[in-house]
Symmetry: C2
Subunit: 244 residues, 2 copies
């Protein structure tokens, strides 16, 4: 058996997330169907992460084992012809037998994209969160630095999670402006359910004056979801990179 | 009557161009419907240009006369709530009575966006032309300079045009790279039918070695459409700016 590791990019607008579901179309299903056309049988494809409905990926990783060996460039070329236009395989490599896209993952990076202008952008419909009032990216970047480090992040976790531990280590928390986009980037060994969206919502609440500046350490300390800001919509969220 | 000048942006993917048609949805129809909801009667809306099916606009201008005066910021806010998410009004101003978005136009600028990478980009589906082989933007920029000036551009005009004259003055012809995008920008007092798409196709033919470098003056001189390159798809084309 050959263990193929794929790096893919997808526009999640039309999908109910990565994970296979009975009554909705998922990215995983599309990848499994494309692999089945190439290999003659449908493999189990392991994703690096579940993603919520509408969430996008610049670089998402998945792996599957197949009975036949094809050169990686052939896997990319053939499977891309079988995939819909909103999913693409960027690259393929052969991984060790025991490699698993989810369990081998050492860290992840997400981006959250805010369109910060008085009117919406037609080219970012379902691809960014529209926030009308001017944001000071430099100020938010400084506020975000309070997220760095190893903490119990219960305050930034949505209900309904079955995480064994709520302790995570955040290694990157940056906010930058690119034209009318304000981009929030978070890197960590792992994220709790909706954590990136709640951290972004909390920073936007600080920008709006609904939460006091420099409150993040106290919010983390409180372990109280109600102290943090809203969960911003999935439309602006991009899985940006996976570390193995 | 108040003469409103709107600057709009639209993702043209779902439209059969700007111009109203009986059996297809156009951007013009959507603007007229939104104006009708605001003003109680449907005005004639004049666009700065016809655009082909699937062509986009970063900044497109149109005007209409309505019996009632509203402050411009109210026109923007109200009409945007009536428009679909792929069309937005960026700004509104009150123009002189004799202003007409098309006849008052002194010049236009278009961009053509090429996605220059081995595999397609899911976020640019219907928004860029995918060209797989590496492009040298600096070389193409130099080639493009031969387009500048006042010439008879018959060689770059699609059949079926009823233009009175085929002489145009090109004031800008630039090619630049932004990451994996190669962007062609053309400014002129006006463009012939499909002219931007044929000029871009000709530059891509030079890149591919199908047309000799430094051939553009001879192609223009020939006045022969067959000497030029292909008409690239409308997906990559953006009306970028209008000069009044």
């Amino acid at each position: 058996m050959t263990n193929y590791l794929l790096t893919i990019r997808f526009d999640g607008s039309s999908y109910h997330g990565w994970q296979f579901q009975e009554n909705a179309i998922s990215v995983q299903q599309r990848i499994m169907e494309a692999a089945a056309r190439m290999f003659g049988e449908m493999p189990v494809v392991n994703g690096c992460s579940r993603t919520d409905a509408g969430v996008h990926a610049n670089r998402f990783c998945c792996n599957f084992k197949a009975p036949r060996f094809y050169p990686c460039e052939n896997v990319v070329a053939a499977m891309n012809t079988y995939l819909p236009m909103d999913i693409v395989i960027l690259s393929c490599e052969v991984a060790d037998d025991d490699f698993h896209a989810r369990f081998s993952c050492k860290g992840k990076e997400y981006e959250y994209v805010v369109w910060n202008a008085p009117v919406r952008d037609p080219f970012l419909h379902k691809r960014a969160y529209h926030y009308k009032y001017p944001l000071d990216a430099g100020f938010l970047d400084k506020q975000a630095k309070d997220l760095l480090g190893t903490h119990d992040f219960t305050c930034f976790m949505a209900a309904g999670s079955d995480a064994k531990t709520t302790v995570r280590t955040i290694t990157k928390a940056d906010v930058r402006r690119e034209g009318e986009k304000v981009i929030f980037t978070f890197g960590a060994d792992g994220f709790l359910y909706n954590m990136v969206r709640i951290m972004t919502g909390t920073l936007l609440y600080i920008a709006a004056g609904k939460i006091e500046p420099d409150s993040i350490p106290a919010i983390i300390e409180s372990k109280d979801r109600l102290q943090a800001g809203i969960t911003v919509p999935g439309d602006g969220l991009y899985l940006n990179r996976i570390y193995y």
